[in-house]
């Protein structure tokens, strides 16, 4: 997808026009609007032919805000994707509104990388978008939005690509855009991991021919401050290991690295828009495979923190790789705050469905900032509890703790968060369980089908709102 900003769009075959509730319409569109009972109500749209061009009227209601324009942009692309080139008429919109309109459009226009050479005649044809705007400041506003867009595309591509391509090393190869944008990339391989003692990460990855990696991404920023650190679960494929998953829908487990992908995407976004804030990401990459060397239920692992972990279920592996990544990040990077993202539990999907991610943490202020950032960008999170009882359920007879409680029907999302909490200590920390929101099942007006890139925009927004002020407390 290409986006160009200009005062007109002569070669666009279709134009999308936001219309407020009861707002005036181009007179050639009036008959069509009348026939369709279109009056600008939010979430509605109406197509009209004007001369040779298709005009799509997008209802934005009585009091549109940026999210309304973002949704309108998405709807424009959803409805006009059969056209090669469209224009978004942002005449009269302020720069942030116009940028939101455009961002909504390009994000809805994402297609999985596998589909981009699709010969299916029904496949989306849209490749170019013209944003019609002459408002001062539009270039800068779009510049920030574009950075998020590119970050989000990186994350979504990583999630969508199959696990034979996105192995731990395959994941790392695809981080080249980050290096180009000025992010330094350090990769800890097997020897390094052994020397550092990341026993939990090594154990999860030991059953696979594709060896585990710990990746450190560093963006220096321009401020003297402790870094914000993102930590991502990057299980490039999760068979469940010896506690193997049912075959049905196992293919979805290629998305089990969506947390790491979101962290990488957010880093790209921050670097592209030259964020002044120092930010790092630690990605725990491993394939949880079934093999002769696989770790077993009952194994006791010594994690980087020194704590020992009894493995009850090898399919509760995300928390193991995160345990090491979190403890390593806290000790080596001395962060101001840590935010981890992980497709961690089925329990959170039972709890919150596909509409919100679960938010856990040890710091109410940071949790509130994360929730607020999610609200602004439309990546919703819901605060979930950390109670002593969840930790008590992990008491082990043989080690410091178990990786999950025994028995079915456990509140596993809460227990997993309690588990992770053991590895962050006092550092302000938020854990986002993004299982259920990392992919969108069927395409609709708001979202494309497939990878959502959930977390990229939230993290970018969090840093912008909370960590770029040099005078912050």
């Amino acid at each position: 997808m290409k986006l160009r900003i200009g005062s007109s769009a002569p070669s666009a075959l279709a134009v999308a026009l936001p219309v407020p509730l009861g707002g005036a319409l181009p007179h050639e569109a009036v008959p069509a609007a009348k026939a369709a009972h279109f009056n600008g109500e939010v979430g509605t749209c109406c197509e009209a032919r004007t001369g040779g061009r298709l005009l799509l009227l997008l209802g934005i209601g009585p009091s549109p805000h940026n999210a309304t324009y973002r949704a309108a942009g998405a709807m424009a692309v959803a409805r006009l994707s059969h056209v090669k080139r469209i224009a978004l008429d942002a005449t009269g919109l302020f720069a942030p509104q116009a940028a939101a309109f455009a961002l909504g459009a390009v994000q809805r226009g994402w297609t999985p990388p596998q589909n981009r050479r699709n010969t299916d005649p029904d496949a989306p044809k849209l490749t170019h978008i013209d944003l019609i705007s002459e408002i001062p400041g539009i270039e800068a506003a779009w510049g920030d939005a574009e950075a998020v867009w590119h970050g989000s595309e990186l994350a979504r591509d990583l999630v969508a690509l199959p696990s034979d391509v996105v192995t731990p090393d395959g994941f790392i190869e695809r981080l080249e855009p980050l290096r180009k944008a000025g992010v330094s990339i350090t990769v800890l391989k097997r020897r390094d991991l052994e020397r550092e003692g990341l026993g939990a990460l090594l154990a999860v990855g030991q059953g696979s021919a594709h060896r585990p990696r710990l990746v450190l991404l560093q963006w220096e920023g321009a401020m003297e401050a402790k870094p914000v650190v993102f930590v991502g679960k990057g299980v490039t494929f999760d068979t469940g290991g010896i506690c193997i998953k049912p075959a049905d829908k196992m293919w979805e487990m290629r998305a089990d690295m969506a947390g790491a992908a979101a962290c990488a995407g957010a880093m790209l976004s921050l670097a592209l828009r030259r964020s002044p804030a120092p930010v790092c990401a630690v990605l725990a990459l491993a394939e949880n495979a079934v093999g002769a060397e696989s770790y077993r239920p009952g194994d006791v692992l010594t994690s980087f923190s020194g704590k020992t972990i009894e493995v009850i279920d090898t399919d509760a592996e995300g928390r193991l790789v995160l345990a090491d990544a979190l403890a390593w990040a806290v000790r080596r990077l001395r962060p101001a705050a840590v935010i981890d993202l992980a497709t961690l539990t089925g329990s959170i999907v039972v709890a919150l469905g596909h509409e919100m991610a679960g938010l856990f943490g040890n710091d109410p202020a940071l949790a509130a900032h994360v929730a607020a950032a999610g609200e602004v960008v439309g990546e919703l999170v819901w605060r979930m509890p950390m109670a002593a009882g969840y930790r008590e359920a992990l008491a082990s007879d043989i080690a410091d703790l178990m990786n999950c409680a025994r028995g079915k029907g456990q509140p596993d999302a809460c227990q997993a968060a309690a588990f992770l909490g053991e590895f962050v200590g006092e550092t302000p920390w938020v854990h986002l369980d993004i299982a259920g929101v990392e992919s969108h099942e069927t395409a609709d007006d708001a979202q494309a089908a497939g990878a959502t890139g959930f977390g990229v925009r939230l993290l970018d927004r969090l840093v912008a709102a909370r960590f770029e002020d040099p005078h912050r407390a």
Binding site: S347, I348, V349, V350, A351, L352, G353, H354, E355, M356, W382, R383, M384, P385, A387, G389, Y390, A393, G409, Q410, P411, D412, A413, C414, Q415, G436
Partner: protein
């Protein structure tokens, strides 16, 4: 119930003595010095040998210490002045199993305020609950023997005054626990309605509607659930008119508070039958209704200055030749039609009609419903919190704050249009289930469709809280009566005129 008494703090002559000891060096607590002297130093020597430090939750038993006592039990209550109402209850509760072999005991609470001394008594009383109606062969020596517990207080008269309303709460809790513990062959809807009638003795006005009345009124959703069972449904409406001295409130009186309970006396799942394993638990699928009954008993028992209505929808969900089928469409009392896709999502059907009826009849100030509604809430929150769903932030915050005080904890869960959309039906106004993800939320969304716009409402999904598989400080294994104390405290803290 355990006979609880209050007396001036002095060493008892016989039985067991419980010391509440603060953490620190040296140990300190009411009667510690007196009993140590009376036993020639045996008590402090024993505590030192046991390395007892007074940490909260720890205890030490000294058998036959002398001075005529059968045992002295030291209970740690933590750092000085750290005791709250709730931790005092827990200390009292933790004493009870240690006294199983004693017939009478005294707790030295002279160092506590009268309110905290009463709280210790409440904790002990709550823990002493036992449902042994059907244990006909239990040997006397296997039964707990404790019958009399005396709180030795600095101001016994004031402590006893503080205990009076707490005793009513304990009685309400026990009433609720009895209902929830009863097996489903005993506790049919009709039997439960009869037991509610017993509340009339306390001044509660009780109305019972049977199937004829409910059919006539149009309780299509509730009756659909009930029609598979030979045990007829009931709806019980309980009025506690505490502001008008038990009389019917005048037309000008402020509207009452309303509490509504799901009372599925047994839930087989109906035609969408449940797996056999663990199905016996479904006798407590009426725990929401049980909590409402217990709450009404409590409010009446302590003569709460408040007008309250409690409504419970009582049905049995059975598969049979007359049972509701998946695919049936029922017309609820509200007029909205419901496609029943799963007959095991029956609690919301019962609540739909009772909630609508409640609003039409009473236009209450707020409605709070309690229901053992979904398995999803257990996967979400386990046995730590009930799920709280609400359209009202202020009421939710009030509940959350009293939840912490009573130890009956709640956690707010979301409501949003995106979840509601999952209930769309091709044939009726709504389906009774959405996809299995977010199941507790979509259940709450379903119920919300029967709550009128602007009516403050809270739904508590207590599926993970109604029954405990292990003893806790103030709740023996089994029925918890979750909700009784929470809502009693909500009323007393925020809605009672003094």
């Amino acid at each position: 119930m355990l006979d609880i008494g209050f007396a001036k703090s002095a060493l008892p002559k016989s039985g067991a003595l419980v010391l509440l000891l603060e953490e620190g060096e040296p140990l300190a607590g009411d009667l510690l010095t007196a009993i140590d002297e009376a036993t020639a130093g045996a008590v402090l020597r024993a505590l030192a040998a046991a390395e007892f430090k007074g940490r909260a939750g720890t205890h030490c038993t000294i058998l036959a210490p002398g001075a005529g006592l059968s045992r002295v039990i030291a209970i740690g209550i933590g750092k000085p002045d750290s005791l709250t109402q709730r931790t005092a209850e827990e200390a009292g509760g933790n004493v009870v199993p240690l006294l199983a072999k004693e017939t009478h005991a005294a707790i030295a609470a002279g160092g506590l305020s009268s309110e905290l001394a009463a709280a210790v008594a409440m904790g002990a009383a709550l823990r002493s609950y036992r449902f042994d109606r059907y244990r006909t062969k239990e040997k006397a020596e296997d039964k707990p023997r404790l019958t009399k517990l005396v709180l030795l207080a600095a101001q016994p008269v004031k402590a006893r005054e503080a205990w009076v309303p707490l005793k009513a709460t304990v009685e309400g809790v026990f009433f609720s626990r009895d209902l929830v513990s009863e097996p489903a062959n005993i506790l049919t809807p009709a039997e439960m309605a009869d037991r509610c009638m017993a509340l009339e003795k306390l001044g509660v006005k009780v109305d019972v509607l049977g199937p004829k009345e409910m059919n006539k009124l149009g309780f299509g959703a509730l009756m659909g659930v009930a029609m598979g069972s030979a045990n007829e449904p009931r709806m019980v409406v309980m009025h506690w008119n505490g502001l008008s001295g038990g009389k019917k409130p005048s037309k000008a009186a402020a509207p009452p508070l309303a509490f509504i309970g799901k009372g599925v006396t047994f839930d087989t799942g109906g035609i969408s039958i449940k797996p056999a394993a663990g199905m016996e638990d479904m006798k407590w699928d009426m725990a929401g209704a049980g909590a409402v009954c217990g709450l009404m008993a409590t409010l009446a028992g302590r003569k709460a200055k408040v007008d309250v209505v409690g409504l419970v929808g009582l049905v049995e969900n059975m598969p049979s030749g007359t049972a509701q089928r998946p695919g049936d469409v029922v017309t609820s009392l509200s007029g909205q039609t419901i496609e029943v896709l799963n007959t095991d999502a029956e609690g919301r059907l019962v609540l739909a009609d009772v909630i609508h009826y409640c609003q039409e009849q009473f236009n209450p100030r707020f409605m709070i419903d309690l229901a053992t509604l979904t398995g999803a809430i257990i996967v979400a929150l386990g046995h730590e919190y009930a799920g709280l769903f609400s359209n009202d932030d202020a009421l939710s915050a009030q509940i959350a704050s009293v939840a912490e005080e009573t130890g009956e904890k709640t956690w707010r869960m979301p409501l949003a249009d995106a979840y509601d959309r999952g209930l769309k039906s091709d044939i009726a106004d709504m389906k009774n289930i959405a996809c299995r993800y977010g199941g507790a939320i979509t259940a709450a969304q379903f119920i919300q469709r029967f709550v009128k716009d602007g009516k403050p409402w809270v739904h508590l999904d207590i599926a993970g809280m109604a029954w405990s598989s292990k003893d806790t400080a103030t709740t023996p294994k089994g029925a918890t009566a979750f909700g009784v104390r929470l809502l009693d405290r909500l009323v007393s803290a925020h809605y009672e005129t003094t």
